[in-house]
């Protein structure tokens, strides 16, 4: 395998569809379920035509924010804006033509083929009098091709490996043909190779098709590697946002995640790489016994 170093080269990529990219953002957004407020008074601009990754500790409101951006959750206060228009006052079908959403660990019904799953992505473009068009066919074929699962089209979704299944779901959102794609932890439950496969796919979609990608990720190092724009959240607020190199620092990792860590340049991509500080119980070299570790001298 050749290591692809081109993922660090981002800013100078020529994008043919840059004029049509959508501006998605939020103003004074407060979100919650029933009495429980999860996100408080949040302002946000997502750079169009870029890959934005949202990170933060568990229960920081990142998935809730993503749901609101995809119009799956009505804001308690504030607005989600798409090209300056209030998203929650637009027709559901219109929104579905603008923004694709991939929920966290979605499930397909038993016995559904990959082709059928991907074809459902065409629903926002279909009417009862026009069920299946040549355009639908072309988009689905293209989506299967883009995700490299053309050969799996006739297979049942529940027979696929985790990585293949996630690619099938992503293919469905590609077939939806939206300018913006929101993904909630698309790498959850995948092994490391499949995580990278999915993240590479998202970067390629952004690069080749000019899609604006917004993803919630758990892994900070992967986030720093694959994001153009990183948003770090804690307790329903944005703590920092911008270039990963500026956002990810020792201090912030400590403040936001409560983790003692040092940040070094990734040896491959030069993006920030978080290395947790000396473990409390380190394995001593040689005999494999657990011993209390020396306190780290350079944290802080």
């Amino acid at each position: 395998m050749t290591v692809r170093t081109d993922m660090t080269v981002r800013t100078d990529v020529v994008r043919t569809e840059s004029t049509s990219t959508a501006h998605l953002g939020a103003e004074g957004l407060t979100l919650g379920y029933a009495e429980h407020t999860v996100v408080t008074d949040l302002d946000l601009q997502l750079p169009p035509g870029r890959v934005t990754v949202i990170v933060g500790p568990n229960a920081c409101g990142k998935s809730t924010l993503l749901r609101a951006l995809g119009r799956l959750l009505k804001p308690a206060r504030g607005l989600v804006l798409l090209d300056g228009e209030d998203l929650h006052h637009r027709p559901t079908r219109w929104v579905a033509q603008q923004i694709g959403v991939l929920a966290q660990t979605p499930t397909a019904p038993e016995g559904m083929t990959v082709f059928d799953l991907v074809a459902r992505g065409r629903q926002p473009h279909q009417r009862w009098w026009r069920q299946w068009s040549a355009e639908d066919e072309a988009r689905v074929t293209e989506a299967l091709h883009q995700t490299g699962i053309t050969d799996l089209a006739d297979r049942h979704v529940d027979e696929l490996s985790g990585g293949q299944r996630q690619r099938a779901w992503i293919a469905m959102t590609i077939a939806q043909d939206t300018r913006t794609l929101l993904l909630d932890e698309p790498t959850t439950y995948l092994d490391i190779a499949h995580q990278i496969e999915v993240l590479d796919l998202l970067r390629r979609l952004n690069h080749d098709l000019g899609r604006t990608i917004v993803a919630v990720l758990h892994d900070l190092n992967q986030a720093a590697r694959y994001a153009d724009h990183l948003i770090m959240m804690r307790d329903g607020r944005i703590v920092a946002h911008g270039d990963p190199a500026d956002v990810v620092t020792d201090r912030r990792v400590h403040d936001v995640f409560g983790l003692e860590a040092i940040v070094v340049p990734d040896p491959v991509t030069a993006t920030p790489l978080i290395v947790p500080a000396v473990p409390r119980y380190a394995r001593a070299r040689g005999n494999g016994e657990l011993v209390p570790a020396e306190p780290a001298d350079r944290i802080g």
Partner: protein
């Protein structure tokens, strides 16, 4: 490989056409099965009539004893059975679709018993006696059942889960059955009339009754086919359905309305018939996949076939007595369902 591109598109055949042909094949198979069931239903009984005579009677009429039996006795019960089975097949499919619950069917969710209770009350209190009047009471009872069962199942933190829904439905079903028997045992006149409208029996029906069912059946079918695409999206999860531009709440309300109407019309005509609404959609989904338009069509065909075959078996199993079709569907449906559950895992959407 240095190319980051996925494999080229050479083998991108059109899977959709092949799958479509397979599904159409199953639909034709379902239609053939139903045709066979109809012929059996017209030919088999205490007076055996050869299929050739049946076909001849259908085509040319006639006034022989056989022709009269076919036309005046077996034809009506066959048409009513066909309509009841189709209504239950459709209702079950939609209940499973909108609740994303493989255990849903008119019987399990208590909708059938709710409708039956309302009809019994209508007979005993209001003295109604025609299907056109039954239907409205049955519909009211069915709607009440849906609302109560859903409200019971929806209590608590975790919301409506498949198991809670099935439990609430079973409990409500038992309650309604006991109310029904309480009304019947204390009211001899009602019991007498109710015996005619036996639990899941198709005998003694008229063609007029079948004609009265038609508008309700059509309205229900229109509603459930109208939400077919919505249910396709809903099968992928509520968030995904929203994301695909579907108005989930509207789909649920329209689907529930259609399913309730279909259950009401089936119960009005034949009383609560068990299992057709559960088994038909599962079998249909197994054969034609997850697309709801296909599943609805095949489920209606299979539901009709199941009810007719059950009715025929009920006629021959203890002659000269007849076992009601409603009891026979369970006898056929339960083993079929057990086989189904054991051979494939049932996915709770």
């Amino acid at each position: 490989m240095t190319s980051p591109q996925p494999p080229a598109l050479e083998r991108a055949a059109r899977p959709v056409s092949r799958a479509g042909a397979r599904r159409a094949g199953w639909l034709i198979g379902g239609a053939a099965l139903l045709l066979l069931a109809v012929l059996l239903s017209l030919a088999v009984g205490s007076r055996a009539i050869s299929p050739l005579t049946v076909v001849d009677t259908l085509l040319h009429g006639g006034h022989s004893d056989d022709a009269v039996v076919v036309r005046t006795l077996r034809m009506p019960r066959t048409v009513v059975g066909l309509a009841v089975g189709a209504a239950l097949g459709l209702a079950g499919t939609v209940m499973q679709g909108v609740t994303r619950n493989p255990l849903a069917d008119p019987g399990i969710l208590g909708v059938s018993q709710g409708a039956a209770m309302a009809v019994v009350v209508a007979i005993s209190v209001f003295g109604v006696s025609s299907l056109e009047q039954y239907v409205w009471f049955a519909f009211a009872g069915a709607v009440l059942a849906v609302v109560i069962v859903y409200a019971i199942a929806g209590r608590g933190r975790s919301g409506v889960s498949p198991v809670k829904l099935a439990l609430a439905g079973a409990a409500f079903s038992a309650l309604m059955a006991s109310v029904t028997s309480a009304v019947l045992t204390t009211n001899a006149a009602t019991l007498d009339q109710f015996r005619f409208w036996q639990v899941g029996a198709l005998g003694g029906r008229s063609l007029e009754m079948a004609a009265q069912m038609l508008p309700f059946l059509a309205a229900g079918a229109l509603l459930v086919f109208g939400v077919a695409r919505g249910m396709d999206a809903l099968a992928l999860g509520e968030d995904t359905a929203h994301g695909l531009g579907q108005r989930v709440a509207l789909i649920r309300v329209l689907g529930a309305l259609g399913a309730t109407l279909l259950t009401a019309v089936a119960v009005s005509a034949a009383g609560p018939v068990a299992f057709a609404g559960l088994a038909a959609p599962h079998l249909a989904r197994l054969l034609v996949g997850a697309g709801h338009r296909w599943v609805l069509c095949l489920s209606a065909l299979l539901g009709s076939s199941l009810v007719l075959v059950a009715d025929v078996m009920g006629r021959v199993i203890f002659p000269p007595e007849e076992v009601p079709a409603g009891a026979m569907t369970a006898l056929i449906g339960v083993p079929a369902l057990i086989l189904l559950v054991r051979s494939r895992r049932v996915v709770a959407g």
